[in-house]
Symmetry: C2
Subunit: 242 residues, 2 copies
Amino acid sequence: MSEISSYKFCVEPQKVDFTLCAAIPAMAGVILDTAGLDAHGKGFGVDALNARNCSWVLSRMALELDRRPAQYDTYEVATWISDYGRVLSTRNFTLTDASGAEFGRAVTQWAMIDLTARTAVDLSGVGREHADAMIDRPSPTDKPRKILSINPTTYVEHRVVYSDIDFNRHMNTLRYIDLLFDAMPLELVASQRAVRLDIHFLRECRHGQLLTLGSEQRDDVWLFTINNGEQEAVRASVEWRS
Amino acid sequence: MSEISSYKFCVEPQKVDFTLCAAIPAMAGVILDTAGLDAHGKGFGVDALNARNCSWVLSRMALELDRRPAQYDTYEVATWISDYGRVLSTRNFTLTDASGAEFGRAVTQWAMIDLTARTAVDLSGVGREHADAMIDRPSPTDKPRKILSINPTTYVEHRVVYSDIDFNRHMNTLRYIDLLFDAMPLELVASQRAVRLDIHFLRECRHGQLLTLGSEQRDDVWLFTINNGEQEAVRASVEWRS
């Protein structure tokens, strides 16, 4: 059984918004960077998988931030894999500040896909192979929640461009999160309110596609659905707390 | 008189496009990060200036890349200030790969603005104050060129959103560069052709403004103008070589 890995970060100027605190989408980016770093360091990163014609694909993410750290603040991200299902593996994160206080946490669920067939690989074997990378510690908060129904009242469009796409020519995960936060009022996304984001990636969006983001606000909860012109591609909720 | 400072970087996965080479806008980002790092380390970064109610504003940039480094390649960025005019200071950069071969270079020109008056500060005094940060070595290529006339033939629109803005609530420099590369054909921007970018920042664009990007192609040169609905805000050219 492995140890929990921790990575130290500093809130770099390119991660802050005009309040000089880290933007929420930037913190989501750090979570994903940490996942990549840790998987790479343990020998099952995207590069190692690519050699076997596979890749990790983020299926769902839940991110809670109690507050946003300030520019140049240092913090630590601890990460561990708690389980492998047949289709999804669960990678967890806690964020702690320099004094050791936890200020955020995340739970991500990943599928492994075969790059030719573009279908999910059965993870049962992988789970056994990576057994010594697993940690017997539960997720630090609820796993990503299902978002059952959305009745959008406002829509914005977004064309998928070069700066949006990843190594697969698909819309980059973080750009979807940007779209969500871009669609809420500036005062809200730049506030210091605690927040929980749940996001489900259902289908890929390709370069050139015109996306439609539909939003519905229910008090402190914003619900989102992104359609790529053919089908629903992403569903998300952002819950503002306190 | 100071030494030239060098900073080591690695092409991180979040900087590459689907060709697994660094995207040109990402390299422009590294140039600006290096400028920030170096100024911060030498005591005249944005943070020190803010304490005096001033800030650096990028006025013009020229970036040449002979080729784009591959993911995980290491490289070094050397940077030095060669001169202070009354309004603009010139900061230079060379990019060299692990074998010591130069593969890119940049020249940037910066104004210092008073944050209340939002007007340029006379740099004559600053030049004397920072004399020991200056290096007697010429710029590694032509300074940013004037772009005299543009007759746009195509237009795209872009609303300035939260993810576009910087600590001043203005459109972030890098997002303008993204807009340019997003407006050219994917095969071109993801090619390994040598390239020179010249960009002039004329006016600020604010959150919520609807920008219009006009483009004109003259063989291997693409000319761009960005209007913020009130006035011309940015003018740029991208020259594809070899």
